[in-house]
């Protein structure tokens, strides 16, 4: 294996600076993604950052790499096409909880069951930010938002538990305040062969006055500092449901399973994008003969 030449943070400096609110958790996620890419020595030309729509989905515009800023909720579908089209690319999807766990949840579930080699970083702020503060799928029951003035009437969705059930092979949770820790989680997620989910606490300083930086700071603890074993699936199912005064962050579960690409015969001859196009005279004859 070739030795990794780490690249400096400036390598990934984007063409414009983020226009997120001052104090937004997403700044930390952007920086850790840049650090993780640098740590792994991934050249910007080989990095594809895909997003949907929302505050956090603006991220591809702020990082120097190839990017695709597509439709609300559809980033995983687009990313899947990109990975199957050119599996030499490192494809990282960045987005929010509304984008991924709300409007795009079908792609979330099916991408995990496919175990396609994608790295999905969700900036989970438990609120819709860009649309100015409505309940999201991860807003806690009873929470006041503009769309739930009587308190959120639904239970929140647990993305990590859902990921475990749907078959994700790398399930982690980080906090944008824990930069070093999150950098490692993202880097390992990129290195992981298969679908990696990194759900990140990335507080919205404008619209979520409950799940704040301070709120998380008082509660999170790192699994890596305990005797937790991330290869134990049953234990992971219990662990990811821990919520309240103590909230775990870190690698919750990892397993090696064949990726979707491993089972796709056409990709054995290299990335699709490099294949020669069209039919040979022999193939034409054979195909026409089929209809005779």
């Amino acid at each position: 294996m070739a030795t990794v030449v780490e690249l400096p943070l400036e390598t990934y400096k984007g063409p414009v600076d983020p226009d997120w609110c001052p104090g937004c958790g997403d700044f930390g996620v952007l920086r850790t993604l840049q650090r993780a890419a640098g740590k792994l020595g991934i050249h910007p030309k080989d990095l594809m950052v895909v997003s949907g729509i929302g505050c956090s989905s603006n991220l591809p515009g702020y990082i120097h790499a190839y990017g695709f800023h597509g439709l609300h909720g559809r980033a995983l579908a687009q990313a899947t096409g990109m990975k199957l089209g050119n599996h030499d690319l490192h494809v990282v999807i960045t987005g929010g909880d509304g984008d991924g766990y709300g409007i795009g949840i079908q792609h979330f579930i099916h991408s995990m069951r496919r175990n396609i080699d994608l790295t999905y970083v969700v900036m989970n702020n438990q609120i819709y930010g860009l649309t100015t503060g409505q309940a999201s799928p991860t807003t806690e029951r009873g929470e006041w938002t503009k769309s739930t003035p009587g308190g959120c009437p639904e239970d929140d969705l647990n993305p990590l538990a859902m990921a475990l059930i749907a078959g994700a092979t790398y399930v982690a949770r980080g906090s944008s305040a824990e930069q070093e820790h999150l950098t490692n989680l993202i880097a390992q997620g990129i290195q992981h062969k298969g679908f990696a989910l990194i759900d990140v606490f990335s507080p919205c300083v404008t619209y979520n006055k409950h799940n704040t930086h301070q709120w998380f700071k008082e509660r999170v603890y790192k699994l890596e500092e305990t005797d937790y074993d991330p290869t134990d699936y049953d234990r992971a199912l219990l662990k990811v449901r821990e919520w309240g005064d103590q909230i775990p962050i870190g690698l919750c579960y990892q397993v090696n399973r064949p990726t979707y690409e491993d089972g796709e015969p056409a990709l054995k001859k290299g990335p699709l994008v490099h294949h020669k196009l069209g039919l040979t005279p022999e193939q034409r004859r054979t195909l026409l003969q089929e209809f005779m």
Binding site: N58, M82, L89, P265, A266
Partner: protein, 585 residues
């Protein structure tokens, strides 16, 4: 001009083998050098119900399943009850002698051919599935077709299956038994075919979309099963490994088009097919392809709408939807292939247009065009159309800063593929500048917005130039001009021939390019026409509306059909006569 032809109707229940009978008959006729056109009417169930295949066989090209039913194979009572009365004078009915044909229902001079099916099945352990083959053997005698060729076809159809020797032997035996049984008792019908021996193919539109995709270098096909587009998925899935393409069944049609766009964005030729309902789910992504300038090909095989509508019936009522797909204005093309060979051509052309103009290209088919089977000659397929990848930069960008969405006179900006050194950019669904940086986040930037809109829409000018204008078929000074789009070409052309026999001259303007639209050419043709009638399988006359919107020309009348079944020539002939004689409009 009369030419030698016959239409055979085969009825049965789904899953009882009548489909294979039709396939065999079509295959044999095509091998003998005859032409066929087969249309299968069916319903949305897997077993049972009523399946009704009409196979028209002609010494010359046949473009519809025709008006007349000459020979009926009725092996269940339901088929006889429904269709015995449709057999025209001079025709005949082959049926199980234990079933009942009501004489009063029949047209005059219809010959009955009761078959002792039970007795004939005896040597084969009474496998009732073989009764179709027995009847087929009888048809071969009546139509003077070569039984040896049928045996060859049976060999191919069933060979390679489990217990194939046994199945082939019993089917060949059954065909011979049926042939002999009818031969002993009835004279042949005296069809003096000239068998040219020219081997023809039997193809469907959906299969030709698949073949066209392979010829065009499509490497990624995504789909969600939906009638009547599913055969494209099946055909390509079957050929995926041998042709190194990825065929991906997705969770829904939203994923289908977004995945195809993802693959296309990294440089792979990508396509998907669906029907109207699936296309509804795709529409947001169609606009995404327009905005991010991603080349992608989408086929809509129309069926009866709205909503779930008529899943197994034909209609041409998605034009408004295709035209109105997605919010905003963006460049795209909408092509409507007019026959099975054109399905192949259209996919090849669509990929070239999509990549040359970096935009979505939509193809409008329908159940009739996609699912009917028709003979075609191998020479009809031009595999030598070059694959044009448009302004795709593969040898690096050396002249300074790369702008993915550079303002150019043609509106087409050279495309580099992700993975290329030194040209990283973001493709965004938000409005953006030449480099891809969003302008949607700025307070306002009307100048850049206008520049980018104008740049994208300029591509329509080039697209229009690359699409040949429609040509009038038939005499310019005809009594009536029949205007159609897509699959109705064949039936309109046959109706023209039938009208000529009645002293009415007609011509045909078949629109293949719905977008871009050849506005002056179409207007000139229509203004010079004596009486203009659209022929469409929908309720409102969506093409008539489109023509009016594009040209300001209002057609004189509409011949519309929205009962789920395709036009037959006589439908058009009757309506033309009514309209010309002033009985109705």
């Amino acid at each position: 001009m009369q030419h030698l032809e016959v239409t055979v109707g085969i009825g049965g229940a789904a899953g009882d083998g009548s489909g294979a009978t039709g396939d065999n008959l079509a295959k044999v006729c095509s091998r003998l050098g005859l032409h066929v056109f087969a249309y299968n009417s069916y319903q949305s169930l897997v077993r049972g119900g009523h399946v009704w295949l009409r196979l028209r066989i002609g010494a010359q090209k046949v473009m519809t399943h025709g008006d007349d039913l000459n020979l009926l194979i009725g092996l269940n009572q339901d088929t006889l009850d429904r269709h015995a009365g449709e057999v025209v004078p001079g025709g005949g009915i082959l049926y199980n002698e234990r079933l009942k044909v009501v004489q009063d229902d029949l047209q005059p001079e219809v010959q009955l051919y009761p078959l002792p099916i039970r007795e004939l099945l005896q040597p084969f352990g009474r496998q009732t599935i073989l009764q179709n083959t027995i009847a087929l053997g009888g048809i071969f005698w009546l139509l003077s077709l070569d039984l040896d060729v049928l045996e060859g076809a049976i060999q191919e159809l069933f060979g390679g299956r489990r217990k194939s020797d046994e199945i082939v032997a019993s089917n060949v035996g059954a065909a011979r038994a049926g042939y002999q049984s009818v031969r002993e008792r009835y004279p042949a019908l005296g069809y003096g075919w000239q068998f040219t021996g020219k081997q023809r193919m039997v193809v469907s539109g959906n299969e030709m979309f698949g073949l066209g995709a392979l010829a065009a270098g499509c490497k990624f096909y995504a789909a969600y099963p939906m009638a009547p587009s599913t055969a494209v998925l099946h055909w390509l899935a079957r050929h995926a490994t041998s042709h190194d393409i990825v065929v991906k069944q997705c969770e829904d049609e939203i994923a289908v088009l977004n995945m195809a766009i993802g693959a296309a964005h990294v440089g792979v030729r990508a396509m998907c097919a669906t029907s109207g309902g699936g296309f509804s789910l795709m529409t947001e992504a169609v606009g995404l392809a327009g905005m991010t300038e991603t080349p992608v090909v989408v086929i809509d095989v129309q069926r009866g709408g709205p909503s779930t509508g008529l899943p197994t019936k034909t209609e041409q009522a998605d034009l408004n939807q295709l035209f109105g797909a997605s919010q905003g204005d963006y460049p795209r093309a909408i092509l409507a292939p007019t026959d099975v060979v054109d399905c192949f051509n259209t996919v090849v052309e669509a990929f070239n247009l999509a990549e040359k103009y970096q935009c979505p290209v939509l193809i409008a088919s329908d159940l009739l065009l996609s699912e009917h089977r028709e003979s075609a000659d191998p020479e009809d397929f031009n595999f030598d159309i070059p694959i044009d990848r448009g302004a795709l930069v593969t040898n690096g960008v050396t002249n300074g800063e790369y702008k993915r969405f550079a303002l150019t006179p043609s509106g087409v900006s050279p495309r580099v593929l992700p993975g290329t050194e030194g040209t990283a950019y973001v493709a965004a669904s938000d409005e953006h500048d030449e480099t891809g940086v969003l302008i949607s986040d700025e307070f306002t930037n009307p100048e850049m917005r206008v520049l980018m809109m104008d740049k994208r829409m300029r591509k329509m000018e080039g697209l229009l130039k690359d699409c040949p204008p429609p040509q009038l078929f038939g005499p310019a000074n005809a009594d009536v001009t029949l205007i159609g789009w897509g699959s109705t070409k064949g039936v309109i052309r046959e109706a023209i021939a039938a009208l000529a026999e009645e002293g009415i001259t007609a011509n045909n303007l078949q629109i293949r390019y719905l977008v871009p639209f050849h506005e002056p050419e179409v207007r000139d043709i229509l203004q010079a026409s004596r009486h203009t009638l659209v022929v469409e399988n929908n309720y409102t006359g969506q093409l008539a509306r489109h023509i009016r919107a594009e040209t300001g020309f209002t057609v004189d009348g509409k011949i519309l059909k929205y009962d789920g079944e395709p036009f037959e020539p006589h439908h058009i002939v009757a309506r033309v006569k009514e309209i010309l004689h002033g009985n109705s409009r």
